[in-house]
């Protein structure tokens, strides 16, 4: 699964990483594993959101290994 990060997560982790998981998982499960892989990056922040195919998805959304997931750091405009 390809994971693309935005905002400060892209700076602290990388713009893009491969999340090596052979089976489907939920967004929440992916977040826990990524948080373990990149401790202190801020992935446990509840304001971090996931996006699939241009839509923001909830933590219980199932992800297939062939999907691209975007992880959005807390947003701030204005």
């Amino acid at each position: 699964m390809k994971v693309i990060f935005y905002g400060k997560l892209a700076e602290s982790i990388s713009r893009q990483v491969e999340f090596d998981r052979p089976t489907a998982c939920t967004v929440a499960e992916m977040r826990v594993e990524l948080d373990r892989a990149f401790p202190g990056a801020g992935l446990a922040n509840t304001r971090v959101r996931a996006c699939v195919a241009g839509t923001i998805v909830s933590d219980d959304t199932m992800l297939r290994p062939d999907q691209v997931v975007e992880i959005l750091a807390p947003v701030s405009g204005g």
């Binding site: 935005y6 905002g7 400060k8 892209a10 700076e11 996006c51 241009g54 923001i56 975007e70 959005l72 750091a73 807390p74 947003v75 701030s76 405009g77 204005g78």
Partner: protein, 152 residues
Amino acid sequence: MTFSVRLEHDELDPERELRELISNSSGVGAVVSFLGIARPQGDRGMIEALVLEHHPVLTEPSMAAIAQEALKRFEVRHVHIAHRCGTIAPEKPIVFAGAAAEHRRAAFQAADYLMDRLKTDAIFWKREDGPAGPGWIEPTDADYAARERWDG
């Protein structure tokens, strides 16, 4: 009731934005606008540039959703948002948010609402670059509280 939003990659011209807002607001009695400007100084000292990262798909719809919600909540005729992305020099405009209404109170409230929502819900990531190094700016507790007061 109408709205217009624009993600601006180049310099934002406040006078042009105000003209656009007024031109879409015939017959109203009040126009209220807010202009956000990049500060030259921040909590970490001098700011050489403000960088606003955006999402290629989500950012503009997030601005439109905020404008549409303002139209639903307030007695306004037109709402206009123009928001910069990219690198912004100090003292240059970041955001223009305005509302036109028959009466002033609705226009003031809508403009206030637009900014509270843009601060916390518009899909941007804000970074200040300066001698102290890059620093990401996230909404403060006060920003979230300001946004939540509209939920009551």
